[in-house]
């Protein structure tokens, strides 16, 4: 019983703090008050500790990693978001990822706490199929990958929704003063190569340093970094799931709906990474692929549970 009370305390405190942190971040995003940064960072650290406390309590209660049912998975996801918040805090202070991450953590937490029925929140004993060491590695890497991929896709959605008409090819990618305006765009320039290039780059460099272009560039950079990290984790998650399935049930791929949707998510992010290389489709195409990835991750995580068939339907 004591476990239950401790859990409840952790959960509700972290929920409250996440709410406050989200509010502060959104206010900061619009009004740029300096002190708020300090408060929100510390608040997020505290919320992170509370969520970790909840997960640890569950671990002590059930003797396995708290990843058995939907409630615990959602709390783990929220934990992942707050962890990402703290990591991106280390890298740069003034950032766009903070409101996005705080809001995501809050919303997932709220969904887990407020709308799941009490019955589902209890810690249940594992069904025989889940009693394995692989549980820890497979589910945890997959959930962390969901968190990072959702973060990256959210940034791509932000990019598209704010700048949908105006993403120019040269705002993403190499943001240097001298880049190629060569034969592709201006085939006749090659004779006057030195002179005109300087003129062109001068006028464009003014544009490049503009705030809008910098913002686009930053969003694209963060999207790429988050999605590339999430892609590695997703690969490891899918593969560990396949190896577990082979060791336990004899086939590493059985076209289970959840497996298949994880593969589809993997494919869409592979498409994103490949579009990013192509110079023609770089800015807008990649953002669209990443935005579609957002919905696919949610379908993969929650949607297939609603279908009710397959190995994964316990949550």
């Amino acid at each position: 019983m004591i476990y239950l009370y401790v859990e409840q305390i952790f959960v509700y405190i972290s929920f409250l703090i996440l709410f406050l942190v989200t509010l502060l971040n959104l206010i900061n995003f619009f009004f740029e008050i300096d002190k708020i940064n300090h408060f929100s960072n510390n608040g997020m650290k505290f919320a992170f500790l509370c969520t970790t406390g909840f997960l640890t309590t569950r671990f002590f209660q059930t003797q396995h990693l708290p990843l058995g049912n939907l409630y615990e998975s959602l709390m783990f996801l929220s934990w992942g978001f707050s962890f990402l918040y703290l990591i991106s805090n280390v890298k740069n202070k003034k950032r766009l990822s903070a409101p996005v991450l705080a809001t995501s953590a809050l919303l997932v937490h709220a969904f887990a706490v407020l709308s799941l029925p009490h019955k589902m929140r209890e810690s249940m004993s594992l069904v025989p199929a889940l009693q394995s060491q692989w549980l820890m590695m497979h589910v945890s890497t997959t959930l962390i990958s969901y968190a990072t991929l959702l973060f990256g896709s959210l940034l791509a959605i932000v990019l598209l929704s704010i700048f949908h008409g105006e993403i120019k090819r040269y705002c993403v990618g190499n943001l240097t003063n001298n880049f190629e305006f060569r034969n592709k765009n201006y085939p006749l320039i090659s004779k006057n190569f030195p002179k005109q290039i300087i003129t062109e780059s001068f006028s464009y460099s003014l544009f490049l340093n503009s705030r809008k272009c910098q913002l686009i560039h930053l969003l694209d950079k963060w999207t790429y970094q988050a999605i590339s990290l999430g892609f590695s984790f997703l690969t490891i998650g899918i593969i560990s799931g396949a190896v577990w399935a082979n060791e336990a049930w004899g086939s590493y791929w059985s076209w289970d709906p959840k497996e298949t949707w994880a593969l589809i998510t993997w494919l869409i992010y592979a498409i994103y990474l490949h579009i990013r290389i192509n110079k023609k489709w770089m800015g807008k195409g990649s953002a669209m692929a990443a935005s579609m990835g957002f919905f696919l991750v949610w379908i993969c995580f929650l949607g297939v549970n609603l279908l009710g068939v397959g190995l994964h339907n316990y949550g």
């Binding site: 025989p128 190896v243 336990a248 076209w255 490949h274 990013r276």
Partner: protein, 614 residues
């Protein structure tokens, strides 16, 4: 004389070239029936990327010139187009013109880079006897076919489209339930959706009930594999070769063409070298020029990703056509032969000797938690060989299979086979139980007939069981009579008959697999995990050239990393600018232009971290 003859035969002039090609293409239409490729080549003027062709030609040329140095004199004769006159146009009868490297487009684009294509080929033709020329041309033709295929398959939009369509088909497979019977689909999709375009019939016709083994899906996967191979061999490997080959530029102009370049006045190469070495670059210096790189793994890793994917696909294909699998539901206490339960998956399946093993189920138990939920299924198995000796014994459970002789036995299912009862003191009788409900909530039932009404009007006592512990008993009218736990020895009287439930005998559902492709797939998995992580390393290359007093620095990265420009800029900020102070020249002679020093270095030396900065 002979060589010049061949020269003019093969080298199509601007004027006579098309005629030559057309005639040769006609002959090819006749001979090989692959003329459409030639025609397409002619018409659209496809030519390979310059660099790739030059690499190939270089390597071929080096091979040929090593092997034959007698016909070198033809190289001097190799001119630009102007030297050939219409009189040199070949006779049509001898038109066996080799298309490879003899096409007009290549001829036009060939710059004066000293590459001796003609010498190579003509000397090759000299050496080979006339009989082999056909096969030589055949190989050349195959090579060109391969290059065309590569170019088609490694196209970027095709790759994206493939990935997207495979993803969409996978999604369709989850929306429509797979693997059910024909009637299921006809009934489920009986209303015509999409204005009559989509209904149960269409589901079956389009193979949507088994999308993942449908021919178009497998064809798409094969196409994806082909694209992977083509992309790796035609784009990535040459890029790796070029990336490793391009070193030590000697002119400032080529450095200025790079994405990132800067000119540092009054700077020394050695300072830059030290700074780069400190930033974990591998630095090479030769004379006034410098080349540094970092993260070469980032070039190889994408190739590794594609190779790992191909490994996985290959292993899965091998599993699909070369394995065995089988499911069997065995009541406790009975035996079965492994080989009888296994079915081959494809045409490459080879049964191993271990299929002659007999499996005996000693005991099957279901363990439960205190709250009644199932905690584990356990089966105690013994394996006997043909001589009756026990070769293996293990208790398997759901996540813990038995591996023996190449095949693996998994615990996947369970059932109830019989209910053992005593009736009116007589027995024990085994009543076979039938599954009334399968899936997660299993229900088994059996029937004890009473009286003698024959088969049609049989009346009796029904017994239902959900697990191996208790039985629910109903009388002849279907009314609930009681519950008994197995082994409790408590009798129950129903319809005048006394029944004691002795035991509920379960049966274990085992799945057996022999999967030869698993090691390949596991290797592919490991490679994929590793290379996916590694491919985020950027391959950074820096070139620098000391031009008089200043330093021209250029850099290139393969990942479009914008931070790279900033980082390199910050690093370049640290390169000291040497101010020539005439008054101090006697006291501090070190601080002077060190061009002479650099030119005296001469050899390429690898710098390490301990070099000090002046």
């Amino acid at each position: 004389m002979n060589t010049i003859q061949h020269l003019s035969t093969e080298a199509p002039s601007v004027l006579g070239g098309h005629r030559l090609l057309k005639s040769s293409s006609c002959s090819y239409f006749v001979t090989t029936a692959h003329g459409f490729l030639l025609a397409r080549r002619m018409l659209s003027g496809i030519s390979q990327p310059e660099k790739y062709r030059r690499i190939l030609v270089n390597s071929y040329n080096r091979k040929q010139s090593n092997s034959s140095n007698t016909t070198v004199k033809t190289s001097t004769k190799l001119p630009s187009v102007d030297h050939l006159t219409p009189s040199d146009a070949p006779s049509v009868s001898n038109a066996e013109g080799r298309e490879d490297a003899a096409s007009s487009s290549q001829w036009k684009e060939r710059k004066d880079d000293g590459v001796d294509v003609r010498a190579g080929f003509s000397s090759g033709k000299d050496k080979k006897p006339a009989l082999l020329t056909d096969s030589f041309e055949y190989f050349a033709f195959l090579r060109r076919l391969k290059r065309t295929a590569e170019k088609l398959l490694s196209s970027f939009p095709l790759a994206i489209a493939e990935l997207a369509i495979i993803g969409a088909l996978c999604a369709v497979g989850t929306l429509i339930e797979q693997g059910q019977s024909r009637e299921f689909y006809l009934q489920k999709y009986s209303e015509d959706w999409a204005f009559g375009l989509f209904n149960g019939e269409w589901v079956l016709n389009l193979c949507l009930d088994h999308v993942y083994t449908a021919p178009y899906f497998l064809g798409l996967l094969a196409l994806l594999a082909a694209s992977l191979i083509a992309c790796t061999s035609s784009r990535q490997i040459p890029l790796v070769k070029i990336a490793r080959r391009w070193r030590f530029v000697n002119s400032g102009a080529s450095i200025s063409k790079l994405d990132f370049h800067e000119t540092l006045p009054h700077a020394r190469l050695a300072d830059l070298a030290v700074l780069l070495a400190g930033d974990k670059y591998q630095v090479f210096m030769r004379g006034p020029s410098l080349y540094a790189f970092k993260g070469l793994a980032g070039r190889f890793a994408p190739i590794g990703v594609h190779a790992a994917l191909l490994l996985i696909m290959g292993g899965a294909t091998y599993s699909a056509i070369g394995g065995y699998h089988g499911t069997i539901m065995v009541p406790q206490g009975l035996n079965f032969m492994v080989g009888e339960a296994m079915y081959p998956a494809g045409f490459l399946s080879q049964p191993p000797d271990s299929f002659d093993t007999e499996v005996h189920i000693n005991k099957f138990t279901i363990e439960t938690y205190p709250n009644g939920e199932v905690s584990q299924f356990r089966t105690d198995l013994s394996l006997f060989n043909l001589r009756g000796q026990e070769v293996s014994r293990k208790v398997i459970s759901v996540n813990d299979p038995l591996r023996y002789g190449g095949f693996t036995m998994y615990q996947t299912d369970w059932g109830i086979s019989t209910i053992q009862i005593h009736v009116d003191g007589e027995g024990p009788f085994n009543l076979v139980a039938a599954p009334l409900q399968t899936g997660d909530n299993k229900l088994f039932g059996t029937f004890l007939p009473i009286g003698d009404n024959g088969l049609a009007g049989a009346k009796g006592i029904s017994m239902l069981a959900r697990d191996l512990q208790s039985v629910v008993i109903y009388d002849s009218n279907g009314a609930f009579a009681g519950v008994r736990r197995s082994g409790s020895e408590k009798p129950i009287t129903v319809d005048g008959v006394t029944i004691i439930i002795d035991d509920i005998i379960g049966s274990t559902g085992l799945e057996m697999k022999l999967d030869p492709g698993v090691p390949i797939v596991y290797a592919g998995f490991a490679a994929l995990m590793l290379t996916t992580v590694l491919s985020y390393l950027c391959h950074l290359q820096v070139w620098a050239l000391q031009v008089d007093d200043s330093l021209v620095v250029g850099a290139k990265s393969n990942r479009n990393r914008a931070e790279f420009a900033e980082d390199l800029g910050k690093l370049l900020n640290f390169v000291p600018e040497i101010v020539r102070d005439r008054s101090m020249e006697n006291i501090a002679p070190i601080i002077s232009s060190t061009n002479e020093e650099l030119s005296m270095q001469g050899t390429s030396a690898k710098m390490d971290n301990e070099s000090s900065r002046s």
